[in-house]
C-alpha cells in the first residue's frame, strides 16, 4: 500500500489528518457504517401501529438509543445516560404514550444537557421504531429503538476546521478533551507506505489548564525514515473582524525521508503565528494569514555519482522567513473556492543573508452539484467535485538547501508545518509514491519549479438521508417546517419592534390606562354595593370587573415583555381585552348611567387611552423589524433546506481521481495519474480510498499507488455565509 496521506482534500480541511488518526478513524467509520447497516437489516421492524402492541399486552424486551456517532465515546456515554431516564423501561408493558414521550424526553435532554455555548448551529432529530415483535413468546415482546441524530457546528469551525480536524483525528477523545482541563493524551501509531515502508511511533499531548494551550510531541520511525516534533501551541479569539482567531506555535521538528536514491533530512526550530478573519463582505469570505521564522540545518545523503548538485547544498544551515495570505469564499450556494499565496525568503547558512526566494500558489475548488433524491428517496445524490491547482518556483541567487526544492508524489510537505491552513510545497500526484517525483531520472535532486492539478469526482450510489425519508416524505413535515419558519419570523419581528421608540412611547402610556382601570374597578364596586338586590346588574358588573382585571394583568404582562402583546391588549377589534371591557360597559352604563355619569366619563377615558396608545403603535415601521428578523432567519432556512434535501447520514460513492503534475527541470515532462476508488461518507466526514495508475512510469516511480484520504467537509459553508 502506498501513502495514506494526501488524496482528495476538502476546502477547509486541506491538511491531511495524521496517520494514526487515519487508521483509527477508518476503523471507527467502518464500525459505524457496519453498525448502521446492521441496525437497518438485522432486526425486522414491527408492522402494526404502536397502539396495537399496547392493546395486545406486549412487554418491552430491550430498549436501545442509537446514534451514528456512537464511536465517539462522549456520544456513547451520553446515549447510555439518556436511556436511564426514559419513561419506558425494559421489562415493562409497552405503553404508546411512554413510547412517544421518550422521543420528546431525549430531544429535551439533549438540548438542555448539552449547552450550545461556542457552537453556532445544532440539529437534533429523534425518531423511534419498534423492532423484533415476537408474538410467539409469553408474554409477547418487542424491542424499542430510539435513533438520535445530532450535529454540532462551532461558530469558529463552521468556516475553519481546526476543531473538526481534531475530531477527525481523535474521534474517541476530542469531544471530551474540548471541555476538559489538563488532559493528557498518548497513543502508539503504526503506518505503512511505499516510500517509508512500515513505521511505528507515538503521539502525545497535554492540554494545559486555563486555556493556556497545549504541548505535544510526536515520533515515528521506520527502517528508512524518521519524523519527530515537539511543540507548544496556543490560540485565542478576538472581537476584531480581521483578527477573529489567532494561533501561535513554537515547534522543533526533524525528519529524514527517502527521496529516490537519496535521503533528505531537515531539523529546524519554528516560531509561527497565524490568523483568520471573521466572514467578511456580502459573500462571507475569510482571510487567512501567517508568518513563520525558521532556523536549523539540512543534509542530503548519499549523493549519487553524477548527481547534478548545481544550485543545491547537500549539507548546510538553514534559515527562512515565511509568510502567506489566503482566502476562502463561497462562489454560489453549492460551490466554494480557496486561494493562497506564500513566499519564503531563505538562507542556506546561519547568517541572515538571502540565498533564495520561494513562491507558492494554491487554488482549490469544491462543488456539490445537481442534488436530487435517489430513485427510492432513501438518500440524496449529487456530484461532488474537488479540485486543486498548486504551483511554485524558486528564485535562487545562490545555494538552495535540498529539502527546500520541490519533491512530489502522493504526499507532500506543507509550506507552514503544523498550520491548519495548508499550502502545498511540492507537486501532488496520487500515482507516484511520496518524494519519487524528484527529477532523479534527469540527474537532478528536486525541482526548482512545479505545478500539479488533482481532481476527485464522486456521486453517491447508496446511502441513507440524514433526515429519515419517513419524515421528509410526510407532507406534514414540510408544512410544519413552513409553519415554524413563519411563526419564527413573526416572533422575531415583534422582538425587534420592542426597540422602536413608538412601542416604548406606547408602553409609557400603559400606566395611565392601568390607573383608569383601577378607577373603573372602584366605580363598579360602588355601583354593586348600591344595588345589592339587582342580580342582573350585579352579574354584568362582575363580568366587567373580571374583564377589567384581566386587561390590567395582561397590560402588566406586556410591560414585563417590553411591550410585546400591548397592541393586542388594546386593539380596536371585537376580541381584544380592552374591547371586551368596553363592550361590558356598554351593557352596564344604560342600566346605571342616569344615576352615575362618572362611569360614562371613565369609558371615554378608556377610549381616549386606547386611541393614544394605538397612535403611538402606528408610528412603528414594521418593515424595519421584519427585515431584521428576515435577515436572522436567512441563517436558518438554507441550513434546514440543506439538511432536508442534500445531506446524507451515510453514503457510498464511486470515486474518479485524475491528476497531472510535473517539475522543472525534468526531461520526462508531465506525469499523470488516473484512478478510481470508493468513498465512505458519514454525514460530512469522508474516507476515500482507491488506486491511481501511472500510465507512463519512469524509473523509481512505479506503475501506480494506493491513495487514502480523510476529510471533514464544511456542510454549511454557503448557508452561513456572512454571519
Amino acid at each position: 500500500m502506498s501513502s495514506c496521506e494526501g488524496g482528495s482534500q476538502s476546502f477547509d480541511s486541506k491538511r491531511p489528518v495524521g496517520r494514526l488518526g487515519q487508521a483509527r478513524l477508518l476503523a471507527g467509520c467502518v464500525t459505524a457504517i457496519v453498525g448502521l447497516c446492521c441496525n437497518a437489516f438485522a432486526q425486522a421492524a414491527c408492522s402494526d401501529a404502536p397502539v396495537e402492541y399496547q392493546s395486545r399486552g406486549y412487554r418491552v424486551n430491550r430498549i436501545r438509543i442509537t446514534n451514528p456517532f456512537s464511536f465517539f465515546q462522549a456520544e456513547k456515554a451520553e446515549m447510555d445516560w439518556l436511556k436511564a431516564g426514559l419513561p419506558l423501561r425494559e421489562g415493562q408493558v409497552f405503553s404508546n404514550a411512554r413510547y412517544n414521550n421518550g422521543v420528546k424526553f431525549i430531544s429535551e435532554k439533549l438540548r438542555s444537557g448539552i449547552p450550545l455555548s461556542g457552537q453556532r448551529f445544532r440539529l437534533i432529530v429523534v425518531t423511534a421504531k419498534l423492532l423484533s415483535c415476537n408474538s410467539a413468546s409469553t408474554p409477547p415482546t418487542l424491542d424499542v429503538e430510539y435513533h438520535v441524530l445530532t450535529t454540532d457546528y462551532r461558530a469558529y469551525s463552521s468556516h475553519l476546521f481546526e476543531v473538526k480536524k481534531a475530531q477527525a483525528e481523535e474521534p474517541a477523545t476530542s469531544a471530551a478533551v474540548e471541555n476538559t482541563e489538563g488532559r493528557f493524551l498518548f497513543k502508539p501509531i503504526a503506518d505503512y507506505n511505499a516510500t517509508t515502508h512500515a513505521a511505528g511511533g507515538f503521539k502525545s499531548s497535554v492540554q494545559l489548564p486555563n486555556q493556556l494551550g497545549a504541548i505535544g510531541a510526536d515520533f515515528e520511525q521506520s527502517s528508512s525514515s524518521i519524523r519527530g516534533d515537539a511543540e507548544y501551541q496556543g490560540d485565542a479569539s478576538t472581537p476584531y473582524p480581521l483578527v477573529n482567531h489567532l494561533t501561535w506555535r513554537v515547534d522543533y521538528s526533524y525528519y529524514k525521508l527517502p527521496a529516490g536514491a537519496v535521503d533528505i533530512s531537515q531539523g529546524r526550530v519554528i516560531l509561527q503565528a497565524t490568523g483568520a478573519s471573521k466572514p467578511l463582505g456580502s459573500n462571507g469570505f475569510i482571510l487567512r494569514y501567517g508568518v513563520s521564522l525558521e532556523g536549523g540545518n539540512q543534509q542530503t545523503t548519499p549523493l549519487a555519482a553524477g548527481q547534478n548538485t548545481e544550485h543545491t547544498t547537500p549539507g548546510s544551515g538553514y534559515g527562512a522567513l515565511k509568510s502567506y495570505v489566503g482566502v476562502s469564499a463561497p462562489l454560489t450556494s453549492h460551490q466554494s473556492l480557496a486561494a493562497s499565496y506564500g513566499v519564503e525568503f531563505g538562507s542556506a547558512n546561519s547568517s541572515p543573508q538571502l540565498d533564495f526566494t520561494k513562491h507558492l500558489v494554491n487554488l482549490s475548488y469544491l462543488g456539490r452539484l445537481h442534488p436530487k433524491p435517489s430513485a427510492d428517496n432513501s438518500f440524496h445524490r449529487m456530484l461532488t467535485i474537488e479540485a486543486e491547482l498548486a504551483g511554485g518556483f524558486i528564485q535562487h541567487s545562490k545555494d538552495v538547501p535540498t529539502p527546500e526544492r520541490f519533491f512530489g508524489g502522493d504526499n507532500t510537505q506543507f509550506f507552514m508545518p503544523g498550520d491548519a491552513w495548508t499550502i502545498r510545497d511540492g507537486p501532488f500526484i496520487r500515482s507516484i509514491p511520496e518524494n519519487n517525483l524528484n527529477g532523479a531520472q534527469s540527474g537532478l535532486l528536486g525541482g526548482a519549479s512545479f505545478y500539479s492539478i488533482s481532481t476527485t469526482w464522486s456521486v453517491p450510489i447508496w446511502g441513507r438521508a440524514l433526515i429519515p425519508k419517513e419524515v421528509t416524505q410526510n407532507g406534514e413535515f414540510r408544512k410544519n417546517l413552513q409553519f415554524a419558519e413563519g411563526t419564527a419570523l413573526s416572533a422575531l419581528t415583534l422582538f425587534y419592534e420592542t426597540n422602536s421608540p413608538g412601542l416604548q412611547s406606547a408602553l409609557g402610556q400603559t400606566q395611565s390606562l392601568l390607573n383608569t382601570l383601577d378607577t373603573l374597578s372602584q366605580q363598579l364596586s360602588a355601583i354593586k354595593a348600591q344595588n345589592p338586590t339587582n342580580q342582573s346588574l350585579i352579574a354584568q358588573i362582575e363580568n366587567a370587573q373580571g374583564d377589567a382585571d384581566f386587561l390590567a394583568r395582561s397590560l402588566k404582562n406586556a410591560q414585563t415583555q417590553k411591550g410585546i402583546g400591548l397592541d393586542q391588549d388594546v386593539a380596536d377589534n371585537q376580541v381584544s381585552p380592552l374591547a371586551s371591557v368596553l363592550q361590558d360597559l356598554d351593557s352596564v352604563i344604560p342600566a346605571v348611567s342616569p344615576n352615575d355619569p362618572e362611569l360614562t366619563t371613565t369609558r371615554s377615558a378608556l377610549v381616549s387611552a386606547q386611541d393614544s396608545i394605538l397612535e403611538d403603535l402606528k408610528s412603528i415601521n414594521p418593515k424595519v423589524a421584519a427585515d431584521k428578523a428576515r435577515k436572522q432567519l436567512n441563517l436558518v432556512t438554507p441550513v434546514i433546506n440543506e439538511l432536508v434535501d442534500e445531506i446524507n447520514l451515510f453514503s457510498v460513492s464511486p470515486v474518479l481521481a485524475v491528476d497531472a503534475a510535473r517539475i522543472w527541470p525534468d526531461r520526462f515532462g508531465t506525469r499523470f495519474g488516473i484512478g478510481g476508488g470508493v468513498r465512505f461518507s458519514l454525514v460530512n466526514f469522508n474516507v476515500t480510498l482507491g488506486y491511481s495508475f501511472n500510465p507512463s512510469p519512469h524509473a523509481g516511480e512505479g506503475r501506480g499507488a494506493f491513495f487514502f484520504s480523510m476529510n471533514v467537509a464544511d456542510l454549511f459553508f454557503n448557508s452561513l455565509k456572512g454571519n
Binding site: V51, F121, I124, V471, S490, A491, L494, N557, G565
Partner: protein, 122 residues
C-alpha cells in the same frame, strides 16, 4: 408501521453570540391511530457572549387541522405578528391566570382561540 414518533429540534446562535433561536417539531402517534404535530419556538438571550442564556419567549402550539380559513392559513404559514403578539400577550396572561388559580379554564381557552381570530390575511 403506521406512525413514527419524531422530534426535530433546530437551534442557532446568532453572530453576536447573544441570541439563540430554537425550533422544535414533535410528532406524536395518538392512541386512536391519528398523529399530531406540536411546534415550539424559543428565543433565548444573554448579555455577554460567555454568559448564560435566559429564556425570552417560548411558544408551544399544537397544530390541529380545522376548516376555518384563518386556521388553514395559520397552519400553512405560521402565526402572523398579530397572532404571535396575542399568543404572547393576552393568551399567555390567561394561561398564567388559570395556572395561578386567578382565571378560569374557559377564559384561557377563549383567549387561545382568539389567537386564530386575530389573523390579518385570511
Amino acid at each position: 408501521m403506521g406512525c413514527t414518533p419524531v422530534s426535530v429540534s433546530f437551534e442557532l446562535i446568532t453572530n453576536d453570540q447573544l441570541t439563540k433561536i430554537a425550533f422544535g417539531l414533535d410528532k406524536t402517534c395518538n392512541d386512536d391511530g391519528s398523529s399530531g404535530w406540536a411546534i415550539t419556538f424559543e428565543l433565548d438571550q444573554r448579555t455577554t457572549p460567555t454568559g448564560t442564556f435566559a429564556e425570552c419567549l417560548k411558544l408551544a402550539v399544537v397544530v390541529n387541522d380545522k376548516n376555518a380559513s384563518k386556521c388553514e392559513a395559520t397552519a400553512r404559514n405560521g402565526l402572523d405578528t398579530n397572532q404571535t403578539s396575542y399568543a404572547l400577550g393576552p393568551a399567555a396572561t390567561a394561561a398564567l391566570d388559570y395556572k395561578n388559580g386567578v382565571g378560569t379554564l374557559e377564559q384561557a381557552q377563549k383567549q387561545a382561540q382568539n389567537v386564530i381570530a386575530v389573523r390579518q390575511d385570511a
